[in-house]
Subunit: 250 residues, 2 copies
DNA sequence: TAAAAATCAATCAAAAACATTAAAAAACTA
DNA sequence: TAGTTTTTTAATGTTTTTGATTGATTTTTA
């Protein structure tokens, strides 16, 4: 039997049963214990499964949870700085939209005491907002598990009944030609509509996002003020020709 | 049986029952007492559960997240029974509405594995629903701080774009003359609309709510099936004349 | 409160599963 | 085909897991 075929069988059985015994795999593939062991070792290295004593087990969304955590710690310092700076643009009387995401989340701590109303599509944001005594409206819609963001038709419909003084949006890519982008088209649609409904839009991003572009376009550079942690002179000139920029670190 | 499989079973039973006896686990896994003890020790170290004399219990942390639920440990046992019973009415293929509130929250643990779609106005419900791999839509709207329920114009608008096979609603008062009632008129409006949009409505309430009435009316008795933990013969006859009733404890 | 029952942690030997190695078989190449 | 590489198997000693037993501790019962 071919190695590839054994691997297929192993992963198939695993998908069905969540965990499989080594002996079961020996029977299913008519190969020796050693061979299966080697297969498991290899598949584990490829992150296709997790070895356990006596067999193998599916590895599930623990990765995702971690990835969210990891992501939220990556460039955290920069994100906090950007968030604090962005919050300084919020004035009493404003009605603002807060996009789901780690950077906008960090803004909340700096909104305390301001006389504002917040609308958001981030479920994670809700607790923090209420904690800081900020009147909050949540969009409806389908819940994206990984980021706990509300998306889809429901979110868009809900959005349309609001209008904002300012909106604060996260982006994964900022590019002179391609504008602001994000990997998930569903998210892009929500971000774009929120910007349309705002008097003024702010895009929050750390410098690692500059000159990058991802799948789904949110808007052109001109359509928002970019808030970024740092930016060298050369790039700054190029970008300033196209859009308003606020650089945090001076 | 593999260690990983035992651990999975243990955590699954625990998620359903809150606490499990060691003996139950011995039977469920067909392994020895010692083995289970070792498993529990290990899982406790991994912060997956808490050992108690005679077995294991869910981590306290989960309950703490639910600060509102905490205080309503009043009649918790009854609520859990009602919730489990109510969940048995949910069938594959159903699209259901889950009202915010403690009793409906307890239903979620019993919905795992069912092929359903859930719409809810309870922000607290979201984590549990996603945890149990249930596709979930959230209504939008204003957030009532105390109960983390979505209410108001936004919630009503969002609701109107759905329709349900079944809805499960909590009520604070059940009265032969005044029907189903709840203290908050905003909540009543959402509950009422959800019922209108459902093929069939279930009201969940423990016996302490019987013959009580509170400020805002949700609906007449006839408009829903009442699920209650217990009910003496005399009252049962009176109520049965007006509406369908399911009594959990027989 | 004291005795009885249940549950517990600790220990141990048997069994199962493990990684490692070397030899055999198969696949490939020149 | 002969030589080389890759894959598989079998054998080795080591490690992990397991269930039974012990006496200590906790909970329940009377």
């Amino acid at each position: 039997m071919l190695t590839a075929e054994r691997h297929r069988i192993i992963l198939e059985l695993l998908a069905e049963k969540e965990v499989v015994k080594l002996q079961e795999l020996v029977e299913a593939t008519h190969s020796s214990e050693s061979t299966i062991r080697r297969d498991l070792t290899q598949l584990e290295k490829e992150k296709k499964l997790r070895r356990v004593h006596g067999g193998a087990a599916l590895l599930h969304q623990k990765r995702e949870e971690l990835s969210v955590l990891e992501k939220s710690t990556k460039n955290m310092k920069e994100k906090k700085m950007i968030a604090e700076y962005a919050a300084s643009f919020v004035q009493d009387g404003d009605c603002i939209y807060l996009d789901a995401g780690t950077t906008t989340f960090e803004m909340i701590a700096h909104l305390r005491g301001k006389d504002i109303v917040v609308v958001t599509n981030g479920i994670m944001h809700v607790d923090a907002l209420l904690e800081h005594e900020i009147p909050t409206y949540l969009l409806g819609g389908f819940i994206k598990k990984k980021t706990k963001a509300l998306l889809g038709r429901g979110a868009l419909n809900a959005l349309e009944s609001y209008s904002f003084d300012k909106c604060f949006i996260g982006a994964n890519g900022i590019h002179l030609d391609y504008g602001y982008t994000t990997p998930d088209p569903e998210e892009a649609m929500v971000k774009r509509l929120a910007m349309k409904l705002s008097q003024h839009a702010y895009i929050l991003a750390d410098h690692s996002k500059l000159n990058e572009s991802t799948f789904a376009k949110i808007a052109d550079l001109e359509e928002a003020t970019l808030i970024v942690d740092e930016l060298d002179e050369e790039l700054l000139e190029l970008y300033e020709a196209k859009t308003a920029i606020e650089v945090v670190k001076r």
